[in-house]
């Protein structure tokens, strides 16, 4: 018998009493989700900027290599579509990426994989990350978030909450473990 069938058989041999699924949760709503989003994002080491003036952001303005996936924001010294091998993205200073929505309770931004094409690695390999999110697209909590997400076959998607971090050395929090050293979320009016 294959291992697959042996495992499934042994599971089915166990008599486990039936148990029903619990009712869906509603979750906390915030009086001002935007304010909550900003507070949480700041607490996890990120930064919120209201308004779309990228040029005034130091992290963007002074970056030699910028890869942008946001329409209307030009890349600088990087041509994502000309690159064949994602390893060549090592050395990109800033990635500017559109996020679909933000989550107030945990400061996370949902980025569907399609947005990251042609190279999924861009969000994690860049030294700094700028996420551009429509200001009216902030949900309260993860229950609402998962209601919104559309699952396509063979896809990828990621929630990003702040910059890459570690506290593996004596519980000292350090930003920039492997991924982005900083994470700026820009809220833009739609």
């Amino acid at each position: 018998m294959s291992s697959r069938n042996a495992i499934l058989d042994s599971l089915r041999k166990s008599v486990v009493p039936p148990a029903s699924r619990p009712a869906p949760m509603i979750g906390t709503r915030y009086a001002d989700p935007l304010k909550q989003f900003e507070e949480t994002l700041t607490a996890v080491g990120g930064r919120l900027v209201r308004g779309g003036d990228l040029a005034s952001l130091d992290v963007y303005a002074n970056a030699p290599k910028v890869a942008s996936l946001v329409p209307g924001v030009p890349s600088r010294n990087v041509d994502l579509h000309a690159i064949q091998d994602p390893h060549e993205l090592d050395g990109v200073d800033v990635a500017v990426i559109p996020g679909e929505f933000g989550v107030a309770e945990n400061g996370a931004v949902w980025v569907p994989g399609e947005i990251l094409a042609p190279h999924r690695a861009i969000f994690v390999i860049a030294q700094h990350l700028i996420l551009v999110v429509p200001s009216d697209q902030i949900v309260d909590n993860l229950h609402q978030a998962y209601e919104r997400i559309q699952w396509r076959p063979n896809s990828f998607g990621i929630l990003i909450s702040g910059p890459s971090k570690t506290a593996d050395i004596e519980q000292s929090l350090v930003m920039g473990a492997h991924g982005a050293r900083s994470c700026t979320v820009i809220l833009v009016a739609q």
């Binding site: 291992s3 166990s14 619990p22 094409a117 994690v124 993860l142 063979n154 593996d168």
Partner: protein
């Protein structure tokens, strides 16, 4: 064979370091409390998480088949492994067929359980653990001492010294920021050279046929978005039915584990990279046996957050290595003896049964009840030390005979005060090593009540 108590005594011999270890973990527990308190529906969330796990376990085979169907439709290759040996062979076969000689891994307790690293290394594959804490213990040739904080037992000076030797950092440098930066550079070169990435699985979703991996560092994403080959290894209890269930578990996981509202990266892999390959290895390795035991079944609901370790007064003061199993602390003390009751017989006793683990568990596993139940099981299996068994048998004999109990009481009250200390606190009295017996009362409670009533 040395059990938990002996290894804990060796750890606790360094008093200041034990105190520091205790405080470090308590700090994480306090952060957890703050996060839990920030969610008014926290208890309802725990209830929901527990109910979802109970439901999933009630029809695990069906959900695994649903997962396999949907994963296959996503272009994922699904493999099944009955035990650790089969798991390791499958992973090696996938790597060998792609001529992989350099593998990067993000955290996976399952691969630790299966001892995958030495298996692959013996077959010529360089394995790099890329979680910073895991890389630290890998360079020290040690296992992790905690499932979420692998290097929690080390001081920054220890790591500075290690990095000086291994990565060429400045001698004597121990600033965490400096050391982390050095590790970032070192590990980035490993990511650039790797031909495949292996990850664990926090959650596998039957409905979508995908897996979810949570990290703060981004190492799982580096390891799966640069090389074209991704292998995800999961214990079969990682399954949840629907994507909406992720909300419940993700709201609990990081808050319980590290006191964060969510991990930095929550990556949903529902298929391979364009032009790449993705494999999921589903592992039993003793889990189906636990499913058949009503008392211990709910331990399969564990989401490996580490909260029970952080809060455990025994873990905090004895360190992860005192357990001698890859998952330490309260949950490990239930899982380890499932695997080998004799070898891990001391673990269910490495608890004060205070119940703090049960109170913080995000999926409401009745950890301290299971620890107690396991003690009974171990006594029945006769794998508990003879001294403990004889002591319990003697006590049982006396307590079940009221006349003998009364007689022993009056005898001890008379004799104990005049016995030489050396005799009372002799080597046989393990209980008295760090404790003083209370002074013997002149009269028993029975005597007092008798007088009161007469």
């Amino acid at each position: 064979m040395t059990g938990h108590a002996e290894k804990a005594a060796a750890f606790a011999a360094n008093e200041s370091r034990t105190h520091w270890h205790d405080e470090s973990l308590w700090f994480v527990r306090v952060k957890r409390d703050r996060q839990a308190a920030s969610i008014p529906e926290w208890e309802a969330l725990r209830e929901a998480a527990s109910a979802i796990k109970t439901h999933t376990l009630s029809r695990l085979a069906d959900y695994l088949e649903e997962f396999e169907r949907n994963a296959t439709a996503n272009g994922i290759h699904v493999h099944w492994a009955r035990d650790a040996a089969e798991h390791n062979a499958i992973v090696h076969q996938i790597l060998a067929s792609h001529n992989v000689t350099r593998l990067v891994k993000s955290k996976s307790m399952l691969t630790e359980e299966c001892h995958l690293n030495p298996y692959l290394e013996a077959r010529g594959i360089e394995v790099t653990d890329t979680d910073l804490g895991e890389r630290i213990v890998q360079l020290r040739k040690e296992p992790p001492s905690h499932i979420v904080l692998p290097a929690i037992h080390l001081k920054k000076e220890d790591i500075g010294e290690l990095f000086h030797i291994e990565l060429g950092t400045e001698k004597g440098a121990s600033d965490p920021k400096y050391l982390t930066e050095a590790a970032r550079g070192h590990l980035r070169s490993k990511f650039m050279e790797a031909q495949a990435g292996l990850t664990g699985v926090n959650f596998a979703v039957a409905e979508t046929g995908g897996v979810v991996v949570c990290t703060n560092e981004g190492n799982a994403d580096m390891g799966t978005s640069l090389p074209p080959l991704h292998i995800a290894c999961m214990g079969m209890e990682k399954l949840i039915p629907r994507a909406e269930d992720l909300a419940v578990f993700l709201r609990l996981l990081a808050r319980s584990g590290t006191g964060q509202p969510v991990t930095t990266y929550t990556s949903h892999f529902n298929g391979p990279l364009p032009g790449g390959e993705m494999h999921v290895v589903i592992v039993d390795n003793g889990r189906s046996r636990i499913l058949g035991q009503p008392t211990f079944r709910s331990s399969l609901g564990c989401i490996r957050c580490g909260a029970c370790m952080n809060t455990c007064p025994v873990y905090r003061r004895s360190g992860g290595y005192s357990y001698g199993y890859i998952v330490p602390g309260p949950i490990g003390s239930i899982l380890a003896p499932q695997r080998d009751p004799e070898k891990y017989a001391s673990l269910p006793f490495a608890s004060s049964l205070c119940g703090s683990c049960t109170d913080v568990c995000p999926v409401k596993i009745d950890l301290h009840q299971q620890l107690l139940a396991f003690r009974k099981k171990l006594v029945d299996l006769k794998v508990v030390p003879l001294q403990k068994r004889l002591g319990m048998a003697g006590l049982g004999f006396v307590l079940s005979r009221p006349w003998l109990y009364r007689m022993s009481g009056s005898l001890l009250r008379a004799v104990m005060p005049v016995l030489p200390r050396g005799l009372v606190y002799g080597a046989w009295n393990r209980w008295g090593v760090q404790r003083e017996l209370p002074a013997m009362p002149k009269e028993s409670f029975r005597d007092l009540i008798g007088k009161e009533l007469s």
